[in-house]
Amino acid sequence: MNTTALERPALSDAELREVTDFVYLEARLADEGRYADWEALWTDDGVYWVPRADGHDPNTHVSHIYDNRTRIATRVRQLATGYRFSQEPASPMRRLLSNVEVTRLDDGYEVGSNFMLMETVVQSTHELRLWAGRSTHRLRRVDGQLRMAYKKVVLVNGD
């Protein structure tokens, strides 16, 4: 829907596959608790943002998550301690990622997609928990590899 995108060269099938594979990989690493690999997908200036609702501004609204690269690293380090009790033991979970729409940016790609995540809260209630929403990834090529510079997740049930 970005009209400026029209001026850029169309996305090739190979690019679409590469980008799609990247977001699938990101989902899989998170699902499987492979957080070190997941962290390695980020660029050095990565920002991970989960606002409470659409249309928010991180400078004036409190978010669920607004992590700069340092905080992303801390998050992963915390999970690795073995004492992150809210994830001890880790929830079995899978996220479905669909409706992948890719726009070319000057320095990479913007990827819109919808997701639904189901987890079993094995730490306490043993109930199912569902999350759904829309993700926006911004990807950039670093040393020939796609990396994630920005991920925004707007939850349907975030507020």
Partner: protein, 415 residues
């Protein structure tokens, strides 16, 4: 042990000076009784003035089963109503916040003014009652330094009596603003717990768990983990029971530098320092920078959570919400970004800290149905002090705060 009906006598049996019984967290009847006596009849925090700054601004909020509508009237004062149309009871306003000229009920078009008066009854020929008696229902309410409280009971003690000495704690928060005003404008994060509401204030004024529940964060940031875990004497914080169920952990004694509670230094935030000095003078400004914000629960549903404000909302005997918003300071807008990020780090379902507290509350909720579940509350009974004002204090890790909570609970529930 499974209890059908609790009488005041049985509350006394279940709440002892050094322990309380787990059934108080798990019995549906107790929960209903609490909604009535604590959340409906008692004073509860409903909103902060800064959430609805202009005429016509409104906020809706639910406490227990009471649905409130707060509106800034033409006279600039905040009116507190039950959010219920006086005709057939429709929820008058179903948006969390907004701005309105009046409130037209979508069911039959009855319209109420910002001051609650019934302004229009469509097709008036069929309606002969006195409109002036059908304005929105008004609960008792009161305001202390912008914090608005309400009670759904038609009479009872005054808000002033209810707050008692806890007003000092609110003052401590407000005084961090150069203008004395807070700005709760960043929105509220919802954090649902599958646990009884009482575990939230208990945990939030528990100074004992920090080094254990939160060890993953301390290890991740290589922080004061060792001192917290190993040496009781290194811990300088103080726990306090202010009476009326208001309780506190005072971290000030543990701070070694000004603005430590802000994760900053006076050098890094010179505008804020200057504003404080201009407002309060150099001496008081320095004192404030050392003291920092309160960490205190105001009975029953308000938590002054250092640089956050928190609301506890009971949903069911085993379901609660902890809401939080960063405590932004008027006259110190330059701190906003830092405070927003600090808030996200500490509180909410994705935070580094409270996510773990919530998980433990949910575990406890389950375990408290097993065997004969007494919860020990004796910690620190051996070393408490009472000052001249009657405020009881002890070592930061002691259960003085939780004992204060339960003694007031017993008083309110009919002890």
């Amino acid at each position: 042990m499974r209890i059908e009906r609790l009488t005041p006598a049985s509350y006394r049996d279940l709440i002892q000076p050094d322990r309380v019984h787990g059934s108080l967290y798990t019995e549906p009847y107790v929960f209903e009784d609490e909604l009535d006596k604590i959340f409906h009849r008692g004073w509860v925090f409903v909103a902060h003035e800064s959430e609805l700054p202009n005429v016509g601004d409104y906020v809706t909020r639910t406490v227990g089963r009471q649905h409130y509508l707060l509106v800034r009237g033409q006279d600039g004062a905040v009116n507190v109503f039950f959010n219920r149309c006086q005709h057939r009871g429709n929820l008058l306003c179903n948006k969390p916040t907004g701005t309105a000229k009046n409130f037209a009920c979508p069911y039959h078009g009855w319209t109420f003014g910002l001051n609650g008066e019934l302004q229009d009854v469509p097709h008036a020929g069929g309606f002969e009652k006195d409109w002036t008696k059908l304005g929105l229902e008004v609960p008792r309410s009161g305001n202390y330094r912008g914090f608005i409280f309400a009670s759904a009971a038609t009479d009872g003690i005054s808000l002033d009596e209810h707050l008692g000495r806890a007003k000092e704690l609110i003052d401590r928060a407000c005084d961090l603003s150069p203008t004395g005003q807070l700005r709760l404008t960043a929105g509220w994060v919802r954090h649902e717990y599958a646990a009884n509401w009482k575990m939230l204030p208990e945990n939030d004024t528990d100074g004992y768990h920090v080094g254990f529940t939160h060890q993953s964060f301390m290890r991740a940031i290589r922080s004061q983990y060792d001192s917290f875990v190993s040496d009781e004497k290194q811990i300088k914080g103080v726990i306090r029971d202010w009476g009326n169920g208001h309780t506190e952990i005072d971290f000030a004694g543990g701070y070694t530098k000004p603005l430590e509670w802000l994760g900053s230094t006076p050098e890094k935030v010179p505008e804020y320092v200057a504003a404080l000095e201009e407002a309060y003078g150099k001496e008081r400004a320095e004192e404030l920078m050392h003291l920092g914000p309160p960490h205190a629960c105001i009975w029953p549903n308000l938590f002054l959570a250092e640089m956050n404000i928190v609301i506890f909302q009971p949903l069911a005997v085993d379901k609660s919400v902890q809401w939080h918003t960063p405590m932004l300071l008027e006259g110190a807008e330059g701190l906003d970004f830092r405070l927003l990020r600090q808030s996200e780090g500490a509180l909410g379902p994705a935070s580094f800290l409270v996510a773990d507290d919530a998980s433990i509350a949910e575990r406890t909720q389950r375990a408290l149905e097993s065997g004969d579940p007494w919860c020990d509350l004796s910690r620190g009974l051996n070393r408490e002090e009472i000052d001249a004002r009657g405020v009881r204090s002890s070592h930061m890790t002691d259960e003085t705060s939780n004992r204060g909570f339960w003694q007031h609970y017993l008083h309110v529930m009919g002890g």
